[in-house]
């Protein structure tokens, strides 16, 4: 479900000159068949045959993100958006080139990836807060705020497996937006929950922008990104084909 376009607030980001993310000539190659067994490996080594076809997910990508900017990454499926986000977060390492960061990063790569269904909401808040890099004191301090934002106060001590998917995503999103990193990586999360909650999420994003946080957002919601971002990068087959004005970026992608 995509948020209604009128619900999307105008960008409140205030770009500065301070560089926060520097991506220099990053290339990342994946092998397509990676579920090989030891037997296959031995045989292919003996026959000197290449084991798998490889595919270039990122091809010499350069990108600089400044403090306070909200940069959108758009492109069709398989264009390398998520791979790029993962190399910034440290989950994937570039094959060549390098990525540099300043400050703390938290990735909302996939909301709820660190949630465990057999733990209660409260335990999950602590576990996820810690996974996203918060200290015990920070979580203690923010706990009430996190729960209030997710609007599931009465179920916080229930096991997460009994939550509806909406409740689950709301809690996960709530933990993520309260981690207060310097650089925020967001992947397709603005399609969470019902409309009032979406509006609240977008409001929260706006607050973060106002507070000068740096954001890199991946989404297929082009209209929404156009309003939210200060700059949009268009990726095509692992290459950047456009980097600049949001409206023009969306036109570029649609024309390609």
């Amino acid at each position: 479900m995509s948020p209604h376009i009128d619900a999307v607030p105008e960008s409140a980001a205030v770009p500065t000159d301070r560089e926060m993310v520097r991506i220099e000539k990053v290339t990342k190659e994946f092998s397509l068949r990676h579920d090989h067994s030891l037997k296959e490996l031995v045989f292919s080594a003996l026959q000197r045959k290449k084991l798998a076809d490889s595919f270039l997910a990122l091809d010499q990508v350069d990108l600089t993100v400044h403090a306070g900017e909200t940069v959108g990454l758009i492109g069709f499926n398989g264009s390398g958006k998520s791979t790029l986000l993962k190399t910034i977060s440290g989950v994937l390492y570039p094959d060549t080139g390098r990525v540099l960061l300043r400050g703390r990063v938290a990735g909302l790569i996939e909301v709820g990836a660190g949630f465990h269904p057999d733990l209660s909401g409260r335990e999950n808040v602590y576990l996820n807060g810690a996974i996203l890099g918060m200290s015990r004191e920070q979580i203690d301090e923010k706990f009430d705020e996190i729960v209030a934002f997710s609007e599931i106060e009465e179920f916080i001590d229930t096991d997460v497996k009994y939550y509806s998917s909406g409740m689950f995503l709301r809690l996960a999103f709530s933990v993520a937006v309260h981690t207060e990193p310097d650089i925020f990586l967001v992947d397709e999360i603005l399609s969470v929950g019902d409309e009032p909650f979406q509006r609240k999420c977008l409001e929260r994003i706006r607050e973060l922008q106002k507070a000068g946080r740096t954001m890199v957002v991946v989404s297929h919601e082009l209209e929404m990104l156009e309003r939210l971002c200060t700059r949009i990068v268009v990726l095509q087959k692992g290459r950047t084909i456009f980097d600049g004005d949001p409206a023009e970026a969306v036109r570029t992608l649609r024309a390609s």
Binding site: S89, G90, Y93, R98, A130
Partner: protein, 297 residues
């Protein structure tokens, strides 16, 4: 990697962390991961933690009947029950640390491939979980030994601490290597199961070490057998809980073959060397491999 100049300006590479120091730096997260493992392990089971008593108990009874009574090992070995159980707990701890650590990366696939966090924490968390499960067995062992007229002593304490340190260091080293390999080839976990199965029989758990010496003493194999870190640890546990209990002390002069080579601590220094070396190699291999975990899973 950022140059020194860039580092001074606050730049760092993503995923750059404290490496092998992570489990110490990230104690809070490590503790939460351990708690999660413990909660999840026995979800929906009525007996819960009691299972960590039931399994070794059944194992013990079966071995005691088959080997102690049918093969009459208990006739020549005083306090055979204590002898047997102190070896079984060593092998159990080894199997659990080794097996859990091997599966720790593949088992946390959702986290490893989506969110960055120091991956050393996974094998470490599974090691700590194994130690938690080891505790009840240790309590049972101590009570059993006391019933057989064993009294705590400094020698026992030293032997126990040496044994635990060697065992955990050695097994963690192996576990980190297999965890890294298992991310690429799932064959590894089956291989580990195989080693665990064989481990009980290739160290003096069920029989006495003197019987091995009678058969292969003086050969190269005898040295290989003795240098097996598990043999060293099992013998240290025998020193800690069995060797100085009353029934053994009473007959030891009449039956000198009950003595183990190099009493009281045997080849502990060799065990320690092997453990440290394995741990270091394991950590280095893991550190090198961890960058590829996310794309291999």
């Amino acid at each position: 990697m950022p140059t020194r100049q860039e580092q001074a300006a606050g730049w760092r590479a993503p995923g750059q962390d404290a490496g092998w120091l992570n489990p110490i730096r990230e104690r809070f997260l490590l503790r939460l991961l351990v708690r999660k493992e413990l909660r999840v392990r026995y979800r929906g089971s009525a007996l819960g933690m009691l299972w960590s008593y039931v399994k070794p108990a059944v194992q013990f009874i079966v071995f005691y009947i088959a080997l102690g009574i049918f093969l009459q090992l208990q006739r020549d070995t005083p306090a055979y029950a204590v002898y047997l159980f102190s070896g079984i707990v060593v092998i159990n701890l080894f199997s659990e640390v080794f097996g859990n650590a091997t599966r720790s990366i593949t088992g946390n696939q959702a986290l490893v491939s989506k969110i960055y966090l120091p991956s050393e924490l996974f094998p470490w968390a599974s090691m700590i979980v194994a130690l938690v499960h080891f505790l009840p067995q240790l309590v049972v062992l101590v009570i059993g030994a006391l019933l057989f007229g064993w009294l705590p002593s400094t020698t026992a304490a030293i032997a126990f601490v040496l044994g635990i340190v060697i065992l955990v260091g050695f097994t963690m080293g192996l576990g980190m290597i297999t965890a890294a390999l298992n991310a690429a080839f799932r064959d590894v976990e089956n291989f580990v199961d195989l080693i665990v199965m064989v481990a009980t029989w290739l160290s003096p758990v069920l029989y006495r070490i003197s019987m091995v010496e009678e058969q292969i003493g003086g050969t190269l194999w005898w040295w290989v057998y003795q240098l097996n870190p598990l043999t060293i640890v099992v013998e240290l546990f025998h020193t800690a809980f069995w060797r100085y209990s009353r029934p053994v002390v009473e007959v030891i002069d009449a039956e000198p073959w009950l003595r183990a080579p190099g009493e009281p601590f045997g080849l502990w220094w060799a065990g320690m060397l092997i453990a440290v070396a394995t741990f270091v190699i394991g950590t280095v291999v893991f550190e090198r491999a961890k960058r590829r975990f996310a794309q291999e899973l």
